[in-house]
């Protein structure tokens, strides 16, 4: 089993954190951002996990889920729900926010982009009395969300506003050796700037309005 990652890629932080937390046995190979590891994808997709069967996983959340499952921790329905929320709601906002903070020097506007998802997370956490997203123990959902939010939430210059429940929950993760270790590998101690060369290679995020003006089934003119 081989895990392919690249430095400065925020999605790689998730899988490296999951690898540290689960202690799964796996080779880790560092490659360039542009390296095409997954044979059937025309664009570079990292991280990628080469499974024992020879198949590749190209979704960071599926990789994390797999690492937890082979470690004996199946994901619950609540876990599934957080992972789906992470990819469909949080990621588009996060990519937008990282683009602004890292490439455009508009750190002051990050708060506006992320307030929806962060408020949702805060409300969900404050409604229940458990330290983690799905209960009393750390699950794959916590690790994925901690790692996804780590670059943004650990940067105190962004002034995201006070969210008590998010802070308490995030501090649990940020204090974990496994998460810090993964963050060091990906960000090289440079914080948000550690992602600059990766972000420069990514297409600019589409604003949500594009969705409505360019439906994917529009017929060619």
């Amino acid at each position: 089993m081989t895990l392919f990652v690249s430095e400065g890629n925020p999605h790689c932080l998730k899988v490296l954190a999951a690898l540290e937390v689960t202690g799964a046995k796996c080779d880790v190979q560092y490659v360039n951002h542009e390296e095409r590891v997954v044979p059937f994808l025309s664009r570079p997709a990292l991280p990628a996990l080469l499974l024992p069967s020879g198949l590749h996983l190209f979704s960071s959340n599926a990789i994390c889920r797999y690492l937890f499952e082979v470690n004996g921790q199946d994901s619950s329905e609540l876990c599934n729900q957080w992972l789906e929320w992470e990819t469909t709601e949080l990621q588009p906002a996060l990519i937008h926010a990282l683009h602004m903070a890292v490439l455009q020097g508009k750190g002051s506007e990050v708060s506006k982009v992320l307030q929806g998802p962060l408020n949702y997370l805060d409300q969900s956490l404050s409604k229940k009395n458990t330290p983690y997203l799905t209960g009393e123990a750390v699950s794959v959902a916590d690790v994925v969300l901690w790692a996804a939010l780590y670059p943004i939430l650990s940067d105190s210059s962004l002034a995201l506003g006070e969210r008590k429940s998010v802070k308490i929950w995030f501090d649990h993760g940020a204090a974990m050796h496994s998460l810090q270790c993964a963050a060091q590998k990906v960000l090289q101690g440079k914080g948000l700037q550690g992602m600059k060369s990766y972000m420069q290679k990514q297409p600019a995020p589409q604003s949500s309005q594009c969705r409505d003006t360019q439906p994917c089934n529009s017929s060619p003119a």
Binding site: T87, Q214, C216
Partner: protein, 173 residues
Amino acid sequence: MALRELSSLEKFLGLKKPNKYSTQGDKKVPVLQSNNGPALVGLVTIACHLVKEAKRPELLGDSAESRAVVQQWLEHRVTKLEGCTKEDVKTVLKDFNLYLQDKVYLAGNQFTLADIFMYYGIHSLIVELAIQEKEQYMNVTRWFDHIQHYPGIRHHLPPVAVLRNRIYTGRHH
């Protein structure tokens, strides 16, 4: 759209009592209220729940590897197939075609929930394809035709004619 897919899935699974769904947010994310617990939110989350309720765990994959592959394609469905541009469509189909080159189903030789939801999600793209394009994405077309004829899957979607006889041989210009 998402709600019709969930209702089609319920019929396929043979669930006796249809669930009531609502939606939340601008993107109309499906929500399933339940009597004995908190609501479930999200198309993939609810679909996996229905499969468990129907006691058909094999539809989520029969090994850790195939379960991860199924989840990956379900995620691909809700992140990459929704709201993509025309250029994206080409890449999505090209990559999917290459992936299916040596596979009967998305998780290899076993039919899973990933096939059902990729079929639902890709239907509107396949409808738009010209004959030549269907030829170009032959593996996708073969897989698509296979799934649309799988017993109890199609439900809310019209059948799409794919080439039965290859009128064109090889690449033509």
